[in-house]
Amino acid sequence: MTSQSQFEPQIIAFACHYCAYAAADLAGIMRLQYPTNIRIIKLPCSGTVDLLHILKAFEQGADGVFVAGCLKGGCHFIEGNIRAERRVERAKGILDSIGLGRDRLEMFFLSASEAPRFAEAAREMTERIRRLGPSPIKGV
């Protein structure tokens, strides 16, 4: 049983190829520090995230999940990020109703050049999940 101070959140990030993943890449190139707790999954578009992917991530023990897509109006596939936003909202509702809580999931919008924003999102989520504690599903 790990204590709060030793808890290292495991966070899955679904990042779109055109913006979010590019920003993450750029953050690496710029040597911007962001927590290593983030495991990034690259998608062609945030709109390809399925409700089930998000739920399965939690089911398999992720403490937190975020979806990162292009800025609104800037999606390479026009509306993919809007659809992702709606699906994330739907997933948040499910997380609330099962007792996991909507705060463990988030959606971020950023452009390919916004490396600091990606780092900030990663930091924000890590801190948030650290505060919330390990997912109650883990280790059961």
């Binding site: 089930l52 739920l55 399965k56 089911e59 109703s97 007792g99 996991l100 109650p136 599903i137 059961v140």
Partner: protein
């Protein structure tokens, strides 16, 4: 198609209380199309139920399966073995499906995961609209192809009523007044004389409920 919507998760959890091994059964026809009970929806529901169980300290067995259609007994043959291994079936089919499963496997409890709403069609993605009430005596030839029994909130045969306003219905200002639509459609088709025809009182017993139809 039959349009149904999933019951809230809390209600489903209450329904499955006391059962330890549950088969969540989807339907690949109507309820898959209205995004309520297809194999995708089954997967999402089972994932949610499993996580909810873990959080509340339970550890029930959930099985997932989807058949082509729940409303035909032949399509249920394939779940016969699975049924022997569970205490309850949570059906994500419409009310017909739930009862078909129940009749086919009477020894097991079949729980309705959906609330069946109406016969309708998609208006656009995510929005389904009722179009037919199954009255058994179709008069669409007399009303320009618009069903007053279904689309008029009062089911009037000689409409509109006094509650119509700018072509919308008093019951829901987002809904069109069916009789205004019928008027406009008949006008466009040059058949306004049909609007003036007196429709006598409806035969409500054309289909004596519960309905049964046989080909002779």
């Amino acid at each position: 198609m039959i349009v149904a919507k999933q019951k809230p998760l809390e209600e489903i959890r209450e329904m499955i209380e006391g059962y330890e091994r549950i088969l969540v059964l989807g339907c690949g026809t109507c309820t898959a199309i209205c995004l309520a009970g297809g194999d995708k929806e089954v997967a999402v529901l089972v994932s949610s139920l499993r996580m909810a169980d873990k959080i509340s300290g339970k550890n029930r067995l959930f099985r997932e399966h989807t058949v082509e259609r729940q409303c035909e007994w032949e399509f249920l043959d394939e779940i016969e073995e699975q049924v022997k291994e569970v205490d309850a079936i949570l059906s994500l089919g419409c009310g017909v499906g739930v009862q078909a499963i129940s009749e086919r496997f009477p020894e097991i409890l079949v729980l309705p995961g959906l609330d069946t709403l109406f016969m309708g069609m998609p208006q656009e993605e995510g929005i389904w609209i009722e179009r037919c009430s199954g009255c058994g005596n179709c008069i669409l030839d007399e009303t320009g192809g618009i069903c007053p029994i279904t689309r008029c909130a009062k089911g009037l045969l000689n409409g509109p009523c006094g509650g119509t306003r700018d072509g919308k219905c008093e019951v829901d200002p987002e809904k069109d007044c069916a009789w205004t639509l019928i008027y406009q459609r008949l006008e466009k088709q040059g058949k306004l004389e049909l609007f003036d025809e007196y429709h006598p009182p409806r035969n409500f017993q054309v289909v004596m409920r519960p309905g049964k139809f046989m080909i002779k």
